[in-house]
């Protein structure tokens, strides 16, 4: 009978022991969650004040980051967007840290992957921001140069440069995030190569006459040079004869 009772209560006892050892972990997790929310909230409020003091929103307006945010149909202040992103990042970070307190192998594995992925997200974000600013700068430079040299389609050219750079930057960011890297590289090569090929064909066909004129002009110039040299040679020969 005792053996039967042992068999009957052993799983319950095991469950109880497991539960008793699990509860502190669970409490630690909940504590870390609460701490995370509080920490994120405090950091958010402090950062908001710091950003207001350093005129972060004005800086974003001037360098074009606000325009970038608006393109995504987000209509809050850039500082608020930044603070919200940081807030949720910290909350997720603390959730992940809290989950490690459970000491479950599957979750631990997932979390280690998450922490390994964070640097990639940061570098992709940096690539996007720096790339956007660079694309804007280069596009504007092209626009000014083209307008100053009297090029009729200056705006189209500047937009084309911006588009090409945006494609390049997006491909770089996606590659950094390791989102279907093979497909991204292939798609980028096809799109970028296609654009360059299209431009080459367009310039090639459009520039046939110009190229012909240039080549003919050079040919003519060479012929003239040769002729002049020959005439010079003849003259010198004549002089030599005179000397003789």
């Amino acid at each position: 009978m005792e053996g039967f009772m042992d068999v009957l209560f052993q799983p319950l006892e095991d469950f109880w022991k497991g539960f008793v050892s699990f509860v502190p972990n669970l409490l630690v997790m909940v504590f870390i969650f609460i701490l995370g929310f509080l920490f994120a909230w405090v950091i958010g409020i402090s950062l908001k004040r710091v950003l207001a003091v350093v005129n972060f929103d004005i800086w974003c307006d001037r360098v074009g980051l606000t325009a970038l945010i608006r393109k995504g149909d987000v209509w809050t202040k850039p500082s608020e967007v930044f603070v919200r992103i940081l807030y949720w990042f910290l909350v997720i970070l603390f959730i992940m840290i809290g989950l490690t307190a459970l000491q479950l192998p599957t979750i631990d594995n997932l979390i280690s992957q998450f922490f390994l992925y964070i640097p990639r997200v940061f570098s992709a974000l940096l690539i996007l921001i720096a790339g956007y600013l660079f694309a804007g700068f280069l596009s504007r430079a092209v626009l000014i140069a083209a307008v100053n040299s009297g090029y009729h389609y200056a705006k189209v050219l500047a937009e084309a440069v911006r588009l090409l750079l945006v494609v390049l930057i997006l491909a770089m960011a996606l590659e950094q995030l390791q989102i279907a890297p093979g497909i991204v590289v292939a798609a980028f090569s096809l799109i970028f190569g296609g654009i360059v090929l299209a431009l080459a064909i367009a310039f090639g066909i459009g520039g046939i006459d110009a190229a012909k004129r240039i080549i003919e002009g050079e040919g003519e110039a060479k012929k003239m040079e040769k002729k002049e040299e020959e005439e010079k040679g003849e003259e010198e020969k004549g002089r030599d004869i005179e000397h003789l």
């Binding site: 004005i58 307006d61 001037r62 074009g64 606000t66 608006r70 393109k71 209509w75 804007g136």
Partner: protein, 403 residues
């Protein structure tokens, strides 16, 4: 108008002979291919509850040379904005509505504000300015026409005549203002008749020949709210957000362009719109506030021209104005008599007294703060400070019109 008198220094285009709406419209269709035209309509939601706007939309439906209409809707809730959008959808060409109270447009104003580019208080000036911004951002129109949305006697000939001088490449005009008479059983337009004209002439008496005063005085209806201009004017001119809008716009045109490239055109035999109460006892309301703002705008421009305005100058101005306004009243009384119109001499004299006190208030305000300016920065400066602002504005308006 039956005469063909030219007032220097601007060009005056009269209404002579047959109207010829078909001819003028067919020419406009051709001109608009070279110089596409945007029509800007500043409106309040309350105007969509009236009858005038229905007539205006009926007429606009038939117009074939307007490339886009940009309507700035003020004091409207989200639901009201949707109603207006639906109402405007009957127009067969592109119509964009700027929802002034909308979240996106308010954020645009907030962006400007934090960069030290205050767009002023809500009103016709700011509505027109933001609409110009959208036209510039859209980049499809080379000319911009503007008229109010409370014109009861609106017909499309008004619009055609207003746009014609700017659209026609053979008439080298950058800015064109409409003029008309405003009569029912009596003469209206008290501010133009009894304030603007006598004030400008009194100022000319005190200051002597002055190009700006001469320029303003050459307009038959300087306070007319209807004008058309090339898009460059919208880019380079600053606009006052207060009631001094019309005078402020003329002052900026005078400053930036030669008067030989400015014209006024007779757009209608008669013009009727919402009448405002005089509210002589309160300078913060109705016509009185408008008069104070107009006077301040003139004084500021004169000071900017280098004319010294002192306390004694303003005292003399007040006396000279009253004398000239009384003389003007006598002229209009005779004009009313020959045309069989009612003329309430007492009411007109009361208006002159009210306008005299408006001049005094404006003078006091000017002496207290001559540097206070209600001008909204021009779009060139705004885009220089915030390079992406036009893209943001376009995105905001397009999204509002999409959802």
């Amino acid at each position: 108008m039956s005469d063909f008198h030219q007032t220097d220094p601007i060009i005056t285009l009269h209404r002579l002979g047959r109207a010829g709406l078909e001819r003028i419209e067919s020419e406009m269709v051709e001109f608009s291919k070279q110089r596409p035209i945007a029509l800007v309509l500043p409106a309040l939601y309350t105007e969509f509850q009236g009858e005038a706007i229905k007539g205006i939309i009926e007429e606009l439906k038939k117009v074939k040379y307007i490339r886009e209409i940009v309507l700035t809707l003020g004091r409207a809730k989200e639901e009201e904005f949707k109603k207006v959008k639906e109402f405007m959808s009957q127009i067969p060409y592109e119509v964009k509505i700027i929802h002034n109270e909308g979240k996106r447009i308010q954020e645009i104003y907030a962006t400007l504000d934090r960069n030290g580019l205050w767009a002023g208080e809500d009103g016709k000036g700011r509505s027109a300015w933001i609409a110009y911004g959208y036209v510039l951002a859209n980049g499809v129109s080379d000319a911009i026409a503007l008229h109010d949305c409370d014109i009861v006697t609106y017909n499309r000939e008004m619009l055609a005549r207003l746009c014609y001088p700017v659209a026609n490449p053979n008439i080298d005009v950058v800015f064109c203002k409409g003029f008309y008479s405003r009569i029912t059983d009596r003469m209206h337009g008290r501010v133009t008749r009894l304030l603007m004209t006598p004030l400008l002439r009194a100022l000319q008496k005190l200051v002597g020949p002055n190009p700006f005063l001469l320029f303003l005085d050459s307009f038959r209806y300087p306070l007319a709210g209807e004008f058309c201009m090339i898009a460059d004017v919208a880019r380079t001119n600053r606009i006052p957000w207060d009631w001094g809008l019309e005078v402020g716009v003329l002052a900026e045109v005078f400053r930036n362009y030669s008067p030989r490239r400015v014209c006024q055109v007779d757009i209608a035999d008669n013009y009727e719109h919402k009448h405002q109460p005089l509210s002589a006892e309160d300078v913060q309301k109705g016509l009185m506030r408008m008069c104070v703002d107009i006077c301040k705008s003139i004084f500021r421009t004169l000071a900017a021209e280098g004319i010294v305005l002192s306390d004694s100058f303003f005292k003399s101005l007040q006396v000279a104005y009253i004398r000239l306004a009384e003389d003007t009243m006598v002229k209009y009384e005779a004009d009313a008599a020959i045309n069989g119109l009612l003329f309430d001499r007492h009411e007109e004299a009361g208006a002159v007294e009210a306008f005299a006190s408006a001049i005094q208030k404006a003078a006091e305000a000017f002496m207290e703060g001559p540097m206070v300016s209600p001008l909204i920065p021009n779009w060139n400066r705004v885009t220089s400070a915030i390079p992406g602002i036009l893209d943001m504005l376009k995105k905001a308006v397009d999204e509002d019109n999409r959802s």
